[in-house]
């Protein structure tokens, strides 16, 4: 089956390209990156700030059950052109992954079809590969937390 989300990460390079075609009109796809409420829903994060405009900035946060922040990310918006293009930075706070530059290109494919191309540039090839491996680490941590929760209930 054809994969709807594709990643092109060439060996030894410090960037990667993510492409995805949506069964959505271009305007609705772009709206999901414009409306702070929807951004928060998609990212499953609390949006502390999200200024969808040139020279705007944003900050997200994820909290645990008790409301303590466990993850925070932020960035600045360099370009924000409706239904066309967004250029922004993205940084995970208190992590060694540095700042990444993200270029989003929005394309109309048909009345109800649109395409997003994300070009992500990292500070170095080594950092890119570390970020690529992150979901692995998260998966392991999540499994570990689940086990810990089960064990705690048994106590």
């Amino acid at each position: 089956m054809e994969q709807r989300t594709k990643i092109n990460a060439e060996d030894g390079k410090q960037d990667l390209v993510i492409t995805r075609e949506f069964d959505l009109p271009l305007e609705l796809l772009f709206k999901a990156y414009e409306d702070p409420e929807i951004v928060g829903q998609v990212m499953e994060m609390n949006v502390l700030k999200y200024e969808s405009k040139k020279h705007g900035s944003y900050q997200f946060e994820k909290t645990d059950d008790k409301g303590n922040p466990v993850f925070r990310a932020n960035g600045v918006i360099h370009e924000f052109t409706a239904n066309r293009k967004i250029i922004k930075t993205f940084e995970m706070e208190n992590t060694p992954f540095g700042v990444q530059l993200e270029v989003y290109d929005f394309e109309k494919l048909g009345a109800d079809r649109s395409k997003l191309t994300m070009h992500v540039i990292y500070e170095s090839a080594a950092l890119r590969d570390q970020v690529l491996k992150l979901p692995f680490a998260q998966g392991i941590n999540m499994a570990h937390n689940r086990i810990q929760n089960i064990l705690n209930k048994l106590k």
Partner: protein, 107 residues
């Protein structure tokens, strides 16, 4: 850390990728592999050594000859490396699509 043993370092080299393609269909001796390249024989040997060290290639001895063959298990590991990252984005985009399909503009 020995970088040579890093699988991703190993496949970053175009000659080494060509060697992997070459032996993907059949096991070959170092000489047979080298005859496909213009590079000097010792250079090819070095590439074979690196590929063997990081377990992308395996060796089988038949009499006096050593044949190199591809290690399918290790190759799969490399191919799967990006999959959790791709899956994470795929899930996020699926969610975005689902949310926007139900989107009602606020008047």
């Amino acid at each position: 850390m020995n970088l040579r043993r890093d699988v991703f370092q190993a496949i970053a080299d175009p000659t080494r990728r060509a060697i992997l393609l070459l032996v993907a269909t059949q096991a070959m001796t170092a000489g047979a592999i080298a005859s496909n390249f213009d590079t000097a024989r010792p250079t090819v040997s070095k590439h074979l050594q690196i590929l063997t060290e990081c377990e992308l290639l395996g060796q089988t001895q038949t009499g006096r000859e050593i044949h190199y063959h591809i290690n399918a298990k290790k190759m799969k590991e490399v191919a799967d490396f990006i999959e959790p990252f791709r899956k994470m984005w795929d899930d996020r985009f699926n969610k975005l699509e689902a949310i926007m399909k139900n989107y009602k503009p606020k008047k």
